[in-house]
């Protein structure tokens, strides 16, 4: 498929609730997220700008993935609220919300022996009515998603036999076929080698630049986050440590306070974005674990 055809199939038609302005801005107000009695996210006020790539970073167990679950309504808040363009997401019908934002979970469950195309077709679920047959619009969205992620040559193959990088692209294709303005990705690079990490991140950048998707992703690598994201959200213990453009936010002081690591922050020689270089820690001077 050529890029022109891609642009044609991805042309956005105004959808059901077209009256509200579409800025694709997620925001939280006093958001409390808990598992049982355990408070994970504590009174978070946050604005994730629309039409941008936002990276959420922070140490393990700081609440990054939980926040993503809260933002996608998979976890009901114990207090506070999440809004999409000012509308509380818990007041939106489930399928209408699923037409606005898609999610790639950290460890998605691949049904046994499902082919790439069959998997991606499931992304059309929120667009289908109970008894409506498979439409040409559905097929066009699936074809565009497969082409965009470079998985069209794999469409007949079982997903559980693909390599990690291919499988991740197939799952991203599912989220693309969902045809949402917002795309949320939970650690999309975690189980991939360096080349496939970069493939996925380049794809994300392309989705933003060419297909106009707003992206929110949880990342571990601060350098990658700084290089690929327009907006950085740094969490610590379920609270906001910093937020803003990577160049404004990411410095040695922040890394020390959030990750407890001494480092230098230098401009990335390739991109000019901040790059975190941990200081050398000789054997005797490591802090006790």
């Amino acid at each position: 498929m050529t890029s022109e055809q891609l642009a044609a199939t991805e042309h956005r038609v105004p959808r059901d609730d077209a009256s509200a302005p579409r800025r694709n801005e997620l925001s939280t107000r006093g958001l409390d997220l808990r598992y049982g009695d355990r408070v994970i996210v504590d009174g978070l006020d946050l604005v994730l700008p629309g039409d941008a790539i936002t990276a959420i970073v922070g140490p393990n167990a700081c609440g990054k993935s939980t926040l993503l679950r809260g933002l996608t309504r998979l976890l009901a808040p114990a207090g506070g609220s999440v809004a999409l363009d000012g509308t509380d997401i818990h007041r939106m019908p489930a399928r209408a919300l699923a037409r606005r934002m898609g999610l790639l979970p950290q460890q998605p469950v691949t049904p046994e022996a499902i082919t790439v195309e069959a998997l991606v077709r499931l992304g059309r679920y929120p667009h289908q009515r109970l008894l409506s047959p498979w439409s040409t619009a559905d097929q066009a969205a699936v074809d565009a998603a497969l082409a965009r992620t470079g998985t069209d040559v794999l469409r007949e193959q079982p997903v559980d036999q693909l390599s990690g990088g291919q499988r991740q692209r197939a799952w991203i294709a599912l989220a693309l076929a969902q045809d949402t303005d917002l795309l949320l990705l939970d650690e999309p690079t975690t189980f991939l080698d360096l080349r496939h990490q970069l493939d996925v991140l380049d794809l994300v950048a392309e989705l933003h630049a060419e297909a106009g998707r707003t992206v929110v992703m949880v990342l571990h690598d601060l350098g990658q986050a700084a290089r690929y994201a327009d907006h950085l959200v740094v969490l610590k213990d379920g609270q906001l440590a910093a937020a803003g453009a990577p160049a404004d936010v990411l410095d040695a002081e922040l890394v020390k306070s959030v990750f407890d690591v001494d480092c230098r922050v230098i401009p990335d020689p390739e991109s000019g974005t901040p790059l975190v270089i941990p200081r050398h820690r000789p054997a005797g001077r490591r802090p006790p674990v």
Binding site: T72, L74, L97, V109, E156, Q161
Partner: protein, 351 residues
């Protein structure tokens, strides 16, 4: 396997998929042909044998009045009961195995069949008309599912726990049915005997009509909800992000399966083995579950129950043997094989 995924892989995968598709079509065509043939046999053979053409004319009310009476009032309801109960059991089994991701999940192992039989007998004891038996069966099936939920849910529905609690519920309710049959006055006991083993003798439209209609509705519901089942297979997070209310979708599918199994029990009594085995047979031929394999389970279940019933009616030397005895005889070793395969670590995640 991943090593094979280089240049030649697409061609291989396409041919594999075509092969599966061809097998699905072939099995489907065979099952439909078998259904038609067996249905004609079940309408023609009996104490009053008749030509196939005579039986088919009699089915639509033409020909000799005696033939019409025999076919319309005795053979047709028995045939309808066998077809709908078999189809319902096949689909119920495949829904439950997929919902619980557990190859041992089936209404008879989980106690739903026992509950539905119990409910049917309780309703019979109240002296209500036989047309209300499906309601009793549905109530009993839900009761059994509730008991299973109370005792097995807290442990996170692990395989062994589910099966053990399910078998306990099944055994307890079957014992309750037996007790009632023993205590009933003779004329009620005769009617209730059906729910101790499962049989198709003496079915008339009074017992079959309502349950058959409800069974067809429940079958339709299973196929309407199938898209949700496919999305639920993606796990709770992805399903939720695709706009599914996971717990309510799961409940709808579970209730559909319970309704199918309960209505089957209302029609035939507790017929073992069909719901457990049919999804495995279909999977063996047609591969992992899709909408097409659910449709196949529906057809194969009907074929299996109808042919078992024809075997007990006409082929076995013993007269009046209930169909449940045949399926249970085949089912016990099957369950054993599945349990043994499950306990082998290599196969634990296979289904």
């Amino acid at each position: 396997m991943t090593g094979l995924l280089e240049a030649s892989a697409p061609a291989r995968a396409v041919s594999a998929r075509t092969r599966v598709r061809r097998r699905v079509l072939l099995l489907g065509a065979c099952a439909v042909a078998a259904l038609v043939a067996l249905s004609v046999v079940s309408l023609t053979v009996g104490q009053m044998s008749m030509e196939a053409s005579v039986a088919l004319r009699a089915l639509v009310g033409l020909g000799d009045q005696g033939d019409v009476f025999v076919v319309q009032e005795f053979r047709a309801p028995r045939l309808a009961a066998a077809l709908i109960a078999g189809a319902g059991l096949g689909v119920a089994g495949s829904l439950l195995q997929r919902l619980f991701r557990n190859p041992l999940a089936s209404p008879d192992v989980m106690g739903i069949t026992g509950g539905a039989s119990f409910g049917s007998v309780v309703l019979l004891a109240t002296g209500a008309s036989a047309s209300f038996i499906p309601l009793g069966a549905l109530g009993g099936g839900l009761l059994a599912a509730l008991l299973l939920g109370v005792f097995a849910w807290s442990s996170g529905l692990t395989v062994t726990r589910l099966v053990l609690v399910g078998l306990a519920v099944q055994a307890g309710l079957a014992a309750a049915v037996n007790l009632m049959v023993v205590r009933f006055p003779a004329e009620l006991a005769g009617a209730a005997l059906q729910w101790t083993t499962g049989s198709l003798y003496g079915r008339t439209w009074t017992e079959v009509g309502a349950a058959a209609v409800a069974g067809v509705v429940a079958l339709a519901a299973a196929f309407v909800l199938h898209r949700r089942l496919a999305v639920l297979d993606l796990g709770d997070e992805s399903a939720g992000a695709l706009g599914i209310k996971v717990s309510s979708a799961r409940l709808q599918l579970l209730l559909t399966a319970i309704a199918l199994a309960s209505l089957a029990a209302a029609l035939t009594g507790p017929v073992a083995f069909v719901a457990l085995a049919v999804p495995h047979l279909v999977r063996f031929v047609a591969g992992p579950p899709t909408a097409a394999t659910t449709a196949l389970s529906c057809l194969v279940g009907a074929v299996l129950l109808l042919s078992s019933d024809l075997v007990v009616q006409h082929l076995l030397p013993v007269e009046g043997l209930p169909v449940g005895v045949v399926t249970a005889t085949l089912g016990a070793p099957w369950l054993l094989v599945l349990m043994i395969r499950q306990s082998m670590p290599a196969n634990r995640s296979s289904v």
